[in-house]
Amino acid sequence: MSDRPSRLTFEAVEKSVLATLTPASRRYWAAVGLLGLGVLVGAGCWAYQIAVGVGVAGMNNPVAWGTYLINFVFWVGIAHSGTLISAILHLMRASWRNPIARAAETMTVFAVCVAGLFPFIHLGRAWMVYYMLPVPNQRHLWQNFQSPLMFDVVAISTYLAVSSLFWYTGMLPDLAIVRDHSKGAKKRIFTFLSLGWTGAHEQWRHYTRAYLFFAALATPLVISVHSVVSWDFALGVVPGWHTTIFAPYFVAGAIHSGLAMVLTLMIPLRKIFRYERIITIEVLENVAKTIIFTGLIVAFAYGTEFFMAWYSQNPVEMEVFRYRLTGDYAPGFWIMVMCNTVAPLVFFVKSARRSTRVLFTVSILVNIGMWFERFVIIITSVSRDFIPHAWGRYAPTWVEFGIMLGSFCLFFFLFIVFVKHMPSVSMTEMKEMLQEGGGHD
């Protein structure tokens, strides 16, 4: 932490963060309105689908899962890095993460919310979704806890609960700072939100303990949630899914995509909110270095999959992987490979990983690549599984694109509403970093 900006003072941190909470410009509200419109488009598409049937999407037999589950896995993946940054890096005392922890956690919470919508959208009978909840009933119908989808319900709801509590707990001192610096209705709101935080020694003691415990609690979840998501596939018999590498492969991929999304969000945020002194280029550089690492892990996973298919000499497995390389969806496969494993290699060049332009471009590429990774996994395997007579292809329809647009709009809508009204950088943790160059205790 030697090249930390030395001129930054507590006051400067507070000032620059609080400056972001001033009444918003018309341009901001226009952006909010536009995103809200996008959300409405998505909602309209979903309503249409409920009224007419899931057939308005492009899925068929054999490809009965389409963009809804691709987007589900994509958003769950995005949700991963927030907790990774705030919990695991916190436990590891990598305090470079402090400037971006708040935004990353926010990203996590909203991404889980968006991801959580997709299984509902995906369902043939969304109105019967409560069958998945253990509601007591006179027929003693129960859920099948053998099903990976039930694992999902448990894993995702746990993750949402823990990550939002973690996020909110971490925000308490900052909310109190905003309260102390505001008047009128805003003061009343923040008085309520800050839950009576006074900054007393006892409160700080509890707070740091709680934060640590949450971090410890959230850490295994980072690993488990995406492992569980991967079991939706790995526990099936489908060639290309039925493999033991899926859990670590998915976790690495999730972190890869999450880190990319952190960059995608932080770079404009840093520019618009003039956070250059807080979110320094070193912070972004560290994220980029991690992306190289996760990119290499996913590259290794891709290679392993092909090796295993060849090594098994099972014609069904081999055909699926041949199809991925050269078949109808080969462009998707090559986009995935280029974006996820080749593009991040530019970060080996120091000047590249210190250029916000390169960082931003690569982060977008990785996001695209990770979306296609899920596309390749979900579509190609069932498209060519065991019975050649039943092989078929899939293409998304306008309804699916509408819902996808809606999901992105919803995410960015929530995010920009948050960053303009809540402290988007943790002032508390920034100060801790300035104070001692370390973590909480």
Binding site: N61, W65, G124, Y131
Partner: protein, 982 residues
């Protein structure tokens, strides 16, 4: 708001709310308040009748539930079909319940049809016919489909009253060349039937006897009796022809030849046989025959016919070694068909002078159909300008005949009054002056003589759906007088049958109606004389044989192929038949142009490219389909689609290939030509997607549709644990506790309660006809998704016939019926979060529709991809919904469904067994697919019963499980197809 306003508003609000709800559904649950004596609510009543979807005349049993016929099955007592039906028979119900059925007579006034009553319609007919009859004899013409003898004689009575000639029976496929050959060679003017089951070698020169030829259901059964592995020696089937439809695809060897080249193969064989068996020739034919056959030596035959040398030699050696060979003729489609058929008749005579395999007594009813030449003559008679009346009974010549015949112009003449007795607005009906819709055969009384001596009764199997009147009653009221006219057709029918000696009295009538008919009527002595062959040395066939003409290098041919689904086009308005894919191409709802891959490659044509086809008589545009099973100089287009009328399921779909056909008839036999040459074809630059249901034509060396060489069937060692885990090495694992092995299984076996239902499908018996799939649609209320749905990959068939071209021999086609395998270790069951797929105590993999929330995980995880998702609510436009089986839930959008092994039938058997305090007997439960299979390829039963047929067949050395290495322990066993070494 004051108190009073509130009360007013509240009252108005609740009143309007109540008024907005409809008090009761429009339709009552039961069709009639007072049920007939034999009706028990909730139980089916079975009525015997006769299928009238083609001229074969199969016996049916119709299941009537609460007044509505909901399912047709074959009548097991009937000698033609012995209890089975083809897909057209299964779909006959969709003729009754067709939403486009006309319900009231329509008369054309100023170019538009206006409804009128039956009385008025009959009065119009009487008036017009009487007017025409006054002007002279023969001014009323009646063209009818193939009908029963009583109705035909009533037609005759009617026409006599109007001083006119006998009715003309029009069938698009009237087998003129077969009839010519039979009369010339055997002296039998008619269509003999074949005792195929007794043959040890069957050679067909184009006869598609598994699809449309004469009586396909009957011949499918007889063919399999001869061909399927059994205790005795198995017969061999060779097919010579320019293209392979389903029938040729079932041959042990399909021998492609040039179009019109079949004749030379037949003549060449005749020449060789004549030489070798000169001594046994029964009558002196030597001289002229030898002279005619002189040019057809081996080299000439090979050159003219284009048949491969190896194939020709194989034919020769097999014919030589066969003890009971039977040769079948052509489909009567081409210029050389009469020569082929005459040569085939002579071949049969030379090979077996007793003609023991030919049944001259039980001849096919369709022999009464007029030759095309006579039909055309009857129509052309209408053009002399005088007032005439043309009555058409359920025929659609405007669709079935080439436009060059000028039929449209004939029907549109002002001086001609055309009456169509038709329930649908067909192309012909649309040009008529009066349309009189009639009751469907399933709603009427009649009799049909399926084959000589087989009198098959037609009785109403349900009440009349839309108050149309039966044709018989209408004709009776026109033809008869006084009491006879008032009593109607049924009384007339009984009287006539008594008069003709079919029944003795009304008591026997009742018995015969219950049984389905009188199946063993002894013919009067006089009639019998004409039914034995009279092999006179007449040599009238000499000219026919000599008519075989080498088409030379006359370019590409076009062949119009009859369709197993739509026959001549009459099936085109039935959604099930359109939805069922064509067995060989797997294309549904469309009419592609089939061409050999090398032909396509030469012109740079890819599948789905829209081609413009042109002949001297017309042109049309249709998508290309590459079919390896045909000669390169040939394009094949199926008959049946391309309707310009005929209701929502037919209109505007596909193309009508008759537009390209020559309007003339064959000079010798007077039959129509279903081939044309030369045909030009060119790319239009447009492309379309083929609605094909197959994802791949080959099985990529997977354990799916397996074959075994005849003689190589070895009992497999089912020793426990002795085998590997690979695709090939994995042993047969019964879906029973003994199929579990701790070496391979992590979880223990299921407990089954007395029964473990299972199925055995013999791939060597399966002919791929698809009757099972359509029966399944009928039984299980399966939705029809239409062309778009199939293009999107959303067909709902619970049972599909997978068609694979053999990877080792691409000329060999393998069919595999694929349905839910009811695995004991089912991948679908474990992944559903809400237990919608549920393993029953009897081993069934039940799908609980109202528990399903539509995650579709089960479908993703099903290795067999047999689960079907309801992407939408599928439409059953009224009254098609009345056909729905009340024992089976109609699934709504958003739920998964699949084959249930006809659980409703299992449950019914349970109730019966419980009433009688016993176990369900073997073969007591027959699912709809097994019931209708003409080849008896499907066996269903209880695997826990060691004496059951399925249990015994599962131990057959040919038994295997599809993709068994996944250890799903399927309850559907397949028996490998036997490949005869030819």
């Amino acid at each position: 708001m004051d108190r009073r306003t509130f009360l007013k508003l509240a009252a108005m609000g609740s009143l309007s709310f109540a008024a907005g709800c409809s008090a009761q559904p429009d339709r009552t649950l039961f069709s009639r308040v007072q049920a007939p004596d034999d009706r028990i609510t909730g139980q089916g009543l079975w009525y015997a009748s006769t299928c009238r979807e083609c001229p074969a005349g199969c016996g049916i049993l119709a299941k009537n539930r609460e007044g509505r016929a909901i399912k047709l099955e074959g009548n097991p007592l009937h000698p033609v079909n012995a209890g089975t039906l083809c897909m057209r028979g299964q779909a006959a119900l969709q003729g009754v319940y067709n939403p486009d059925r006309l319900s009231t007579p329509l008369i054309k006034k100023e170019g538009r049809f206006v409804p009128l009553s039956y009385e008025d319609a009959l009065a119009v007919i009487r008036e017009k016919a009487a007017e025409a009859a006054r002007k002279g004899p023969d001014r009323v013409t009646l063209v009818t489909e193939m009908a029963g003898p009583v109705l035909l004689s009533l037609f005759e009575t009617l026409l006599k009253r109007w001083r006119s000639r006998s009715p003309v029976v029009f069938e698009p496929f009237a087998y003129e060349s077969l009839k010519l050959a039979s009369s010339q060679v055997f002296g039998v003017r008619g269509l003999v039937s074949y005792r195929m089951e007794k043959a040890d070698l069957l050679v067909s020169f184009g006869a598609d006897f598994l699809e449309t030829w004469l009586s396909p259901v009957e011949y499918a059964r007889r063919f399999k009796q001869m061909h399927a592995p059994g205790p005795g020696e198995q017969g061999l089937y060779l097919h010579v022809g320019p293209y392979a439809g389903l029938t040729a695809a079932n041959a042990d060897r399909f021998m492609p030849c040039r179009c019109e080249g079949e004749a030379f193969v037949a003549l060449g064989l005749l020449r060789e046989v004549l030489e070798r068996r000169a001594a046994s020739v029964p009558w002196d034919v030597g001289g002229p025959l030898k002279r005619i056959l002189a040019p057809y030596h081996r080299e000439a035959v090979l050159k003219m016919s284009g048949i491969r040398k190896a194939h020709y030699d194989l034919l020769l050696t097999r014919l030589e070694s066969a003890r009971k060979p039977l040769i079948l003729g052509s489909s009567g489609a081409g210029e050389n068909s009469p020569a082929t058929d005459a040569a085939v008749c002579l071949l049969n005579t030379l090979l077996d002078p007793d003609l023991a395999l030919i049944d001259f007594v039980h001849r096919h009813a369709v022999e009464r159909a007029a030759r095309r030449r006579e039909v055309l003559k009857a129509f052309r008679r209408q053009t002399d300008g005088g007032a005439r009346v043309l009555l058409l009974n359920n025929v659609d010549p405007v669709f079935s005949m080439p436009p060059g015949t000028g039929l449209q112009a004939i029907l549109q003449q002002g001086s001609l009054f055309v009456v169509s007795f038709s329930s649908f607005m067909t192309e012909t009906a649309a040009l008529s002056d009066l349309i009189v819709p009639v009751a469907h055969p399933l709603e009427s009384w009649d009799v049909y003589e399926s084959k000589s001596g087989i009198w098959s009764f037609i009785q109403p199997v349900m009440g009349n759906l839309n108050r149309t009147r039966p044709l018989g009653d209408l004709i009776a009221s026109l033809a008869l007088e006084g009491r006879a006219a008032r009593e109607g057709y049924r009384a007339h029918l009984i009287r006539e049958l008594e008069k003709w000696g079919v029944i003795r009295d009304e008591a026997q009538w009742v018995q015969a109606v219950q049984k389905g008919g009188v199946f063993d009527l002894r013919l009067p002595e006089g009639a019998r004389a004409a039914t034995s062959p009279d092999l006179r040395p007449s040599w009238s066939w000499a000219g026919t044989l000599a008519s075989a003409a080498d088409p030379g290098a006359s370019g590409t041919f076009l062949a119009a192929a009859p369709s197993i689904r739509l026959l001549d086009g009459r099936g085109a308005n039935k959604p099930w038949l359109n939805e069922a894919p064509e067995p060989v191409t797997q294309v549904a709802w469309q009419t592609p142009v089939l061409m050999a891959p090398e032909t396509a490659a030469r012109k740079g044509i890819h599948p789905g490219d829209i081609l413009k086809l042109g002949t001297a008589w017309g042109e049309l545009e249709a998508p290309a389909y590459l079919n390896p099973l045909q000669h390169p100089d040939l394009l094949v287009v199926g008959i049946g689609q391309g309707h310009r009328a005929y209701g929502r399921y037919a209109e505007g779909l596909g193309v009508n290939v008759t537009d390209l056909l020559p309007p003339g008839v064959h000079p010798l036999c007077g039959g129509p030509l279903y081939r044309a040459s030369p045909v030009s074809f060119a790319l239009t630059g447009k492309r379309s997607k083929l609605a094909a249901t197959d994802g791949s034509r080959i099985q990529h060396h997977r354990k799916i549709a397996l074959t075994v060489k005849a003689g190589a069937v070895q009992p497999v060692d089912k020793g426990q644990g002795a085998h590997g885990l690979g695709m090939e090495a994995f042993p047969l694992a019964l879906p029973l506790p003994e199929g579990y092995d701790p070496e391979r299984d992590f979880y223990g076996p299921h407990d089954h309660d007395g029964y473990r239902w299972a199925m055995v499908i013999d791939l060597d018996r399966c002919i791929g006809c698809g009757a099972c799939a359509v029966a399944c649609y009928a039984e299980n209320n399966i939705g029809v998704v239409g062309e778009r749905g199939i293009l999107e990959g959303r067909e709902m068939a619970w049972l599909r016939i997978e068609r694979y071209f053999d990877e080792t021999d691409p000329m060999r086609v393998l069919f595999l019926p694929m349905l839910c395998q009811h695995c004991d270790n089912a991948p679908c069951e474990s992944v559903c979060p809400v237990y919608a797929p549920h393993h029953s105590k009897e081993g069934l993999n039940n799908q609980i529709y109202n528990r399903c929330i539509g995650t579709r995980f089960c479908s993703q995880n099903c290795p067999y991809k047999v689960r079907r998702f309801n992407w939408f609510d599928w439409p059953w436009p009224a009254p098609l919904n009345l056909q729905l089986n009340p024992d089976v839930t109609v699934r709504s959008k958003g739920v998964m469904e699949k084959c249930s092994f006809c659980v409703q039938r299992i449950k019914a058997a349970h109730q019966k067994a419980k009433d009688e305090d016993r176990m369900i007997r073997d073969q007591e439960v027959v699912p709809a697919c097994a019931q209708t299979c003409p080849a008896h390829a499907v066996v269903f039963g209880n695997l826990m019963d060691k004496a059951s047929r399925v249990r015994r067949l599962a131990a057959d050395p040919r038994a295997y499980q599809v993709m068994g290495y996944l250890n799903t322990k399927p309850a559907v066993f397949y028996l490998k197809k036997v490949i005869r070494d030819v």
